[in-house]
Structures are given as structure tokens and as C-alpha cells.
């Protein structure tokens, strides 16, 4: 008796061990590609450039980090960077959460258009937006006309621009999940006597928390590493770490200070990410996700209509107005003249007609999206396994790091790290989509993880009991549920590549400029035609982004349900 019992026990243990081993093997298999990708295209270049700055005669000079931190101006930059990121994040959540709710839960005409439109600012290069935003807060801008208020070169301009840029992050990350939460759960709580607020607080809020945390983290990261906005709208008096790193690397060529600042930024970003991973893990619950078409309703009652009106008004003033200024300036005084000029090859400034930048941008973006989606999905699936160990959790944070490293560091790193065959990619076109995918992967992961993790494990187990292989269980259970998140992620990655400027400008070839690079070139030259063409190209960039995003919105709404 006893014997058999232990035997059974042994056998069960062996089976468990085998299953564990299998699980580990699968996970490792899934992680190989993303890990290799990050090692070669991220860790290696960054390490190379930091080593240039911090190693003298083969000895690491880590003491320099302490020295730098002791300097008051470094501390000041660090403080300002943190402060403005915190305030920007709070403001963005405050302004964008109602928008996320409205776009997720209300069904109204023009909803898809609105959802696509709010995402456009996020993907526009700062070089374009800076000038547009001046029309809102600068001299002769809307606020100036209305109340004689001028905010340019104040910190308010920076904060508002950050809201402008990151509105979409909150709307898409939070709204994506909000639209799929089963409203019946909240209704059940109401039936059991909970007040409307209590029901929301105890049912919906905990379910949303991971997505809100993810969105807040994203916004914090973007604003913490803000570069163009701070440079253009803040004037030269405000400086963030990112701006300082750029100056030390590209202007002053003090690689050692730049390396120290990079390490500081790395450490800060790492801390944020670790914190975030911890909060998300503590909040994770399996959610019942339903089809979005079930959850969206027409607004009812004055309160809901007012909320909708408020959101639309906010979007109009904060997001559309700056964009409208660009459009207006692209037509002003010339009708379609500037657009026509874009198709002419002037033989000098551009080797090709500026309009060809549209084609280049789209091609790069398609390739970058494909790379980002493959890498990001593999990583997300590996990360959602319940038995994920410490190592995997570290990997989660690692995937986000590219968002916290300055483009100039990556760009310079590419130059000195990827210069040996078989990986001499410095002059290859693939470098551009690779760099863009690096920034795209975190979006894919962040969009997919909350949804993947919310898939009820019991469904998978049930499938396994019925004899499905892990792959088949994943395909039949997880995939249908995450397909929508996948599309959102792809849309984001696509849009991010379209507007990516920082790294692209370092590696794009003159014969294949991308849209943002072409805009920057036009803005860099005096003369009315150049300025007008820059505005026209910016308008085209906006339209291309909006169309790409709209197509994705369309894709998700199939007649049989929204996906």
C-alpha cells in the first residue's frame, strides 16, 4: 500500500518535472528570437558606445558616475526631467481617461474617425508638431487671441504638448481593454446593491488597473525621455537628460559625460520599469473579455452626452487645432501649389522628388511593423506563461528599455557596433526598419500583455484536458482573444515607424528620405516654397497616418463582431 502510494507519488512528480521541463523548453524556444534581436541591435550597440566613453586603457571608470551626480547642474537636469514627466503624466491621465472611456463604451457616428484622429499626434515627428503647437500657445495663437495668454518658452507649453502627444497612448492602451470588459459584471454588482461608484470601483477599476498602469508608465517614459518638445517649446532654458545626452554626444563630443548620463537615464528608466512590472503583477486578474460590439452603447441621458461633448471639445482644441494650422499653412497663399512642387525633382536639395518620401516611409514602416510584431508577439507569449520565472520577468522590463534610451545613443552605437561583416549594416536600408522596430516592440508587448495575461488559464487547461497540444490550445483559446490587441499593436508599431525621427535621421540615406526626414530638410532651408512644401509634406504625413490607423479601425469591425 505504502509502497504503491510512494510509487504513484514518484510517478506524479516525474510527470510534473517533465511537464515543467517541457514548459521551460517551449518558453526558451519562444524567447530565443527576441533575445537575440535585442542582444544584437540594442545591447551590443549601447554597450559599445558607453564603453567608448567610460573605458580608458581597458579600465572601466565607474567613479565618473558618482562625480557627475555630485555636479549641481546634472542634478538640476535630473530633477527637472523627473518633475516635468510626473506632472505631464498626471495631466495626460486626467485629460485622456474620459476620452478612453467615451471611445471604448459609447457608440456614436464618427467614432472610428475620432479614434484614428487622436492617434495622429502621437506619431508625428516633433519637428512638425513644435511649429504647429506654437499656433496654440505661442504669439498670435488661439490662447493669445482669446485671453492674451502666451505660453511658449514656459513649462506649460511643454506639459500641454506632452498631453497632445500622449493622449493616444492612454486612449488606446486603456480603451482597448475597457471596450472588452464585460459590463454585466458591473451590472451584477449593481443588482447586489452596490452604488454605481462602488460597482465601478470594485469591479471595473481593478480590471483596468494594469492597463492604466501600463499607459501611465508609457507616458512617463515618453515624457521622461522627451527631446524635441523640450527643445522646441521650452526654449534653451529647459533641459532634460535626453537633451543633455544629445548635446554631449552630437555637439560637444564629450562621450564620457554622455555615457555617464546614459547610465543615469538607464538606471532611472530601469527603476521605473521594475516598479511597473511589480504593480502590474500584483494587480493581475483573469478577466472575462467580451466582444466590443456588446459593450458599446449609444450615450443615454444628458450626463453621458455632456461627457461625449466634453471629450470631443477637448480633442478639437488640444489635438485638432494644432494639426489644422499645419493644413491651413500648407494651402495658404498657394492653393495646391506647394503640393504640386513636391512632385518635382529639383535635382539639388533632393535627389528624388520629395513626394517619394511617402513611398519610402510606407515601405520602411511595413518592414518595421512586421519585425516588431513578430518579435513582440513571441516575447509576449513567452512572458504570459503562468510559471514565468524571475529571469523572464527581467526580460519583460528589458523589452521596454529601448523607449528609455536616447536615439542619438542608439544611432551612434549602431555606427561603431554594426560595422563588421557579416553585420556591417551601416549603409544598408534594413537598418532603418530595424531601428524603428526597436521602438515598436515595446508597444506591441505593452498592448498585448495585459490582454494575454487576462485570458483565463482554465480555458487553456480545458483545451489541454480535451487533448489539445499547447500550440493548438494557444491557437484556439488565446489567439482569437488577442487578435484585436495584435491589430492595435501592429497599428501602433506602423504609426510609430512612420513618424520616427530621432534614430532615422541618423541612418536614413539621402536617396531614400522618410517623410519626417524630408520635412526636416525642407524646414532647414530658407524660402517660402521650402516652408510651404514642409507644411504640405507634414499634412501628407498626417493623412497617411490617419488613413493607416483608420484602415486598422476598419479591420477590427467585421460584420460578425469587432475584431
Amino acid at each position: 500500500m505504502d509502497l504503491t502510494r510512494t510509487e504513484v507519488g514518484h510517478r506524479a512528480a516525474a510527470r510534473r518535472a517533465a511537464a515543467r521541463w517541457r514548459g521551460n523548453a517551449v518558453r526558451l524556444g519562444l524567447m530565443v528570437v527576441p533575445v537575440a534581436f535585442f542582444a544584437v541591435f540594442f545591447a551590443h550597440p549601447i554597450a559599445a558606445i558607453v564603453a567608448r566613453g567610460l573605458r580608458t586603457d581597458g579600465v572601466w571608470q565607474f567613479g565618473r558616475i558618482g562625480e557627475a551626480l555630485a555636479q549641481s547642474d546634472v542634478r538640476q537636469v535630473l530633477w527637472f526631467t523627473t518633475w516635468q514627466a510626473l506632472v505631464s503624466t498626471a495631466l495626460t491621465l486626467l485629460i485622456a481617461l474620459p476620452g478612453a472611456y467615451v471611445l471604448a463604451r459609447f457608440d456614436f457616428p464618427g467614432r472610428q474617425v475620432l479614434r484614428a484622429v487622436v492617434t495622429v499626434p502621437f506619431v508625428l515627428p516633433t519637428v512638425v508638431v513644435g511649429s504647429a503647437f506654437m499656433a496654440l500657445v505661442g504669439r498670435g495663437g488661439l490662447l493669445d487671441e482669446l485671453w492674451g495668454l502666451r505660453l511658449d518658452t514656459t513649462v506649460w507649453a511643454i506639459l500641454l504638448a506632452h498631453v497632445f502627444f500622449n493622449y493616444a497612448v492612454v486612449v488606446r492602451t486603456v480603451g482597448g481593454l475597457w471596450g472588452q470588459l464585460d459590463p454585466r459584471q458591473e451590472e451584477a454588482a449593481r443588482m447586489l446593491g452596490a452604488s454605481r461608484f462602488a460597482a465601478w470601483r470594485s469591479v471595473t477599476l481593478p480590471a483596468l488597473a494594469p492597463a492604466v498602469a501600463a499607459a501611465a508608465l508609457m507616458v512617463f517614459l515618453f515624457t521622461f525621455t522627451s527631446f524635441g518638445v523640450v527643445q522646441i517649446l521650452g526654449g534653451p532654458t529647459f533641459s532634460t537628460l535626453e537633451v543633455e545626452i544629445y548635446r554631449q554626444t552630437a555637439e560637444i563630443f564629450d562621450l564620457s559625460t554622455a555615457a555617464v548620463l546614459t547610465m543615469i537615464q538607464f538606471a532611472a528608466v530601469g527603476t521605473i520599469l521594475a516598479l511597473h512590472a511589480w504593480t502590474v503583477r500584483r494587480r493581475e486578474t483573469a478577466l472575462r473579455l467580451v466582444d466590443t460590439s456588446v459593450t458599446a452603447r449609444r450615450p443615454r441621458g444628458a450626463g453621458q452626452w455632456a461627457l461625449l461633448g466634453g471629450v470631443v471639445a477637448t480633442v478639437a482644441v488640444l489635438l485638432l487645432l494644432p494639426l489644422a494650422v499645419l493644413v491651413q499653412r500648407s494651402f495658404a497663399g498657394a492653393g495646391l501649389g506647394y503640393y504640386r512642387r513636391l512632385t518635382e525633382d529639383d535635382g539639388g536639395v533632393f535627389l528624388v522628388a520629395p513626394i517619394e518620401a511617402v513611398g519610402n516611409s510606407l515601405q520602411y514602416a511595413v518592414v518595421a511593423t512586421a519585425i516588431a510584431v513578430v518579435i513582440g508577439s513571441l516575447a509576449s507569449v513567452a512572458l504570459t506563461r503562468r510559471d514565468a520565472g524571475r529571469l523572464v520577468r527581467g526580460f519583460d522590463a528589458l523589452l521596454m528599455l529601448p523607449l528609455g534610451v536616447s536615439a542619438v545613443t542608439v544611432g551612434f552605437g549602431f555606427l561603431i557596433a554594426l560595422d563588421e561583416p557579416p553585420l556591417d549594416l551601416r549603409a544598408s536600408w534594413i537598418l532603418v526598419p530595424l531601428a524603428q522596430a526597436l521602438v515598436g516592440v515595446p508597444f506591441v508587448v505593452r498592448t498585448m500583455l495585459p490582454v494575454l495575461r487576462a485570458v483565463d488559464a482554465r480555458l487553456r487547461e480545458a483545451a489541454a484536458v480535451l487533448g489539445a497540444s499547447p500550440w493548438r490550445a494557444w491557437r484556439e483559446v488565446d489567439l482569437p482573444m488577442v487578435r484585436r490587441a495584435l491589430l492595435v499593436a501592429a497599428g501602433f508599431a506602423f504609426a510609430v515607424s512612420l513618424g520616427e525621427f530621432g534614430a532615422t535621421v541618423f541612418i536614413a540615406r539621402p536617396e531614400n528620405p522618410t517623410l519626417p526626414v524630408a520635412v526636416a530638410r525642407l524646414l532647414g532651408r530658407p524660402g517660402e516654397l521650402n516652408y510651404g512644401q514642409a507644411m504640405a509634406l507634414s499634412t501628407i504625413l498626417m493623412i497617411v497616418c490617419a488613413v493607416a490607423l483608420l484602415v486598422l479601425e476598419r479591420l477590427r469591425t467585421d460584420r460578425t463582431g469587432e475584431f
Binding site: R139, G140, Q231, I232, G235, P236, T237, R247, T249, A250, E251, I252, D291, A332, G337, R341, G347, V349, V358, G359, N360, L362, Q363, V366, F412, L415, D419, E420, P421, P422, D424, L425, R426, A427, S428, W429, L479, P480, R483, L487, V505, F506, P510, E511, N512, R521, L523, G524, R525, P526, G527, E528, L529, N530, Y531, G532, L555, D558, T560, F563
Partner: protein, 376 residues
């Protein structure tokens, strides 16, 4: 529940197909729009180029007429590839970073404010171009070692908005001294000397004019007179300066800006219809001369091609083609400047200049002092 799931699954199949169709569609559209990054742009391995390719590394203001380049290719037998590497500062820095395994054969675009950094880091190897004796003596540098060859000059000067001054019957300023006069209070916008090349040039101009000690006093006066500092040229010129096309649209209110002597001709050439006269003018006494150099990179993989390309950069054809593409002046004494360029953007008669060695010695310290003096 189950019906939804079935529906979902059906939809899923459809969506996957749609995505594929979309991706293929986009791919096709873009492929037809431009084939250059599709197939014929060789991937890895093309960096070294064949012996028949010569690669020019430059900053993003590089521009040349296609027919002039084609003529060079035909005559020399080399194919020219151009690699633009960001603005002047970062292009120079990148070239230094990669000097052991350079991205090309020739670097063009290091100016006198950065020259010593390039030379001290051993970026270039000596080569004396064929027409070296045709180059204006005042722009030659490097004490006859021939590691760099001057290619063009440009003047950084204060530009003024003609209409603004004539409406107010006010004479535009002409010299640096004028800029601190009370009638020009709150009119000037300039660029951050630590992040912008014209901003740095303007600072160096004041240092050349008032000396190591005097320039700080001058800037104190300038600050008291309401000078506005923004980060980059684009912003200063397009957003703040009332005389530019962008500034007119943005209702800009500063009629004085630190820009280039070649900005007024650009305002004419890039306007449709072209005005008879430039809407902006140059304050002749505020200019600082920038010289741009090119050189053969130390570890160039195709040094022979690089030498041919350097000869070409100072050839009469290229020198005469340059002004309307890059808005700079030739360095060849016998090069003819296009008529509209000469008419609206004459060379400054007596610009401030400074020896590259002196710039190297003081630049960082000056920029630091300037930052705490003007921006804090």
C-alpha cells in the same frame, strides 16, 4: 458564448486574410512608388563599394545638381554615393567615431568651428588637390599639410525684415554695435550657441570683434536690449523672424534674426512668383565667415576615387553649381556666381574671421560662459 466564439473564429480567418491583403497591397503600392529600397540597393557588403564606387560622407545640407555629378561619374569612371549623416556637428563626430572603419572615402562639411577637432583626432590623410593654387588664399588652412581642402564659404549675419523697418521709417542696424542701441530693443532673435551652428558663429563673431574679454560685456548689453534666444535655426528663422515666409504666416514679431548672408536670395528663388527684390536684407557689419572643408578619410577604402572626388569638389563645374544648391559661395577665384545669387546675396565685405586653432582653444569655455551669461 459559443456562438460568439464561432463567429469570432470565422471572423478571425477573414481578418487574417484581410491583413495579408492589406500588407501585400501596401507593399505593392510602395514598391511601385519607389524601388530604391526594395531590391537594387545592395545590403551588407555594399558599404565597401567596389573599387568603382566612391562614397562621400557629409551633413544633411549637402546638395548638388544631378547632371554635374553625372558628368563627374562619366569622366572619372567612379560611381558617387552620398551618405548624409545629420547636422554638421554630429556628422563630424560620427566620422571621428568610425575613423578606423570609415563609412566612406571623402568627408565634406567640417567647418572652421570644428576643424581642429577633426584634425586632432586624425580624421584625414594629406592630399593636395589639382587646382590647389586656384583657391582663395584667405580660406586655406592647416599650414600647408593639405589634410583638408576648402570647398565653400558662407557668412553668418543678422538678417532684417525690410518691410518692417520701412513701415516704421527706421534704419535697419548695420553693425554689431548697432544691435545694442535702444531703437532696436526686443527686435533680435538668435540661436543657442551650444546647439546651433549659426548661433555659435554669431558668438564667435562677437568674440572676434570685441576680444576675449569684451564679448561678455557686449552680450550683457545685448541681453539688456531684449535679445531672444531659441534653440535652433529653423525655429528662429521660420517661427520668430517676421521677414521669412514661415514667420509671416506665424505672425512673427522679431524683424532681426541671426541667419546667413545667403538667406535673402533663397527668399527670392524659393518664392512663387519671384519678387523683384528680396524681402529681407543683411546687416553687413554683423557677419562671421564660415569655411567648409573636405578631406580624404584616413582609412578610406578607395583612396584613388576619393582623390578624384576631392579634385572634383574644387573644380570649376562643381564650384559654380554649388551656390544655388547649398547657398554658399565658391572658394575658387575663377568661379562665376549665378546672377540672382550675386544680386541678392553678395559676399560680406569685411566679415569677422577667426583662426580655427583659436576657436578650438576657446570654444567650449566660451559656450559655457555664454550659456550661464545669457540663458540663466
Amino acid at each position: 458564448m459559443s456562438t460568439t466564439e464561432q463567429g469570432t473564429r470565422k471572423a478571425a480567418g477573414k481578418v487574417t486574410r484581410q491583413v495579408t491583403v492589406l500588407a501585400v497591397g501596401l507593399g505593392l503600392i510602395t514598391l511601385s512608388a519607389c524601388g530604391s529600397s526594395g531590391g537594387d540597393d545592395a545590403g551588407p557588403g555594399s558599404t565597401s563599394g567596389g573599387p568603382k564606387t566612391v562614397t562621400l560622407v557629409s551633413h544633411n545640407s549637402w546638395a548638388a545638381s544631378e547632371d554635374v555629378i553625372a558628368a563627374f561619374e562619366k569622366q572619372s569612371g567612379y560611381q558617387v554615393k552620398v551618405l548624409e549623416d545629420g547636422d554638421t556637428g554630429s556628422a563630424v563626430n560620427k566620422a571621428i567615431l568610425t575613423k578606423d572603419n570609415p563609412q566612406g572615402d571623402v568627408f565634406f562639411g567640417v567647418d572652421n568651428t570644428l576643424l581642429s577637432r577633426a584634425l586632432d583626432n586624425g580624421l584625414f590623410q594629406p592630399y593636395e588637390v589639382k587646382d590647389a593654387d586656384r583657391i582663395l588664399p584667405e580660406v586655406r588652412a592647416d599650414g600647408g599639410k593639405h589634410r583638408v581642402t576648402p570647398v565653400d564659404t558662407g557668412d553668418i549675419c543678422v538678417n532684417y525684415d525690410k518691410a518692417w523697418f520701412s513701415e516704421r521709417k527706421l534704419t535697419p542696424p548695420e553693425t554689431l554695435d548697432d544691435l545694442v542701441e535702444p531703437e532696436y530693443k526686443n527686435l533680435l532673435v538668435t540661436e543657442n550657441a551650444s546647439t546651433s551652428s549659426p548661433g555659435l558663429g554669431f558668438l564667435l563673431g562677437t568674440a572676434a570683434r570685441y576680444g576675449d574679454e569684451g564679448w561678455q560685456d557686449y552680450w550683457k548689453k545685448l541681453k539688456a536690449n531684449g535679445v531672444k534666444v531659441v534653440d535652433g535655426w529653423e525655429q528662429a528663422y521660420n517661427e520668430e523672424f517676421s521677414g521669412s515666409a514661415g514667420g509671416r504666416k506665424a505672425k512673427a514679431d522679431r524683424p532681426l534674426v541671426v541667419s546667413y548672408a545667403s538667406s535673402p536670395p533663397a527668399e527670392v528663388i524659393y518664392a512663387d512668383p519671384r519678387p523683384k527684390t528680396a524681402p529681407t536684407g543683411v546687416a553687413e557689419g554683423t557677419c562671421f565667415r564660415q569655411v567648409e572643408y573636405a578631406g580624404l578619410l584616413s582609412n578610406a577604402k578607395n583612396p584613388e576615387g576619393g582623390k578624384a572626388l576631392l579634385d572634383f569638389l574644387v573644380s570649376k563645374e562643381f564650384q559654380e553649381d554649388m551656390p544655388l544648391n547649398m547657398f554658399v559661395h565658391p572658394v575658387r577665384e575663377d568661379a562665376q556666381v549665378p546672377e540672382e545669387f550675386a544680386r541678392f546675396g553678395p559676399r560680406a565685405k569685411d566679415p569677422q574671421t577667426m583662426d580655427p586653432a583659436k576657436i578650438a582653444e576657446h570654444r567650449d569655455q566660451w559656450v559655457k560662459s555664454w550659456t550661464s551669461l545669457v540663458l540663466k
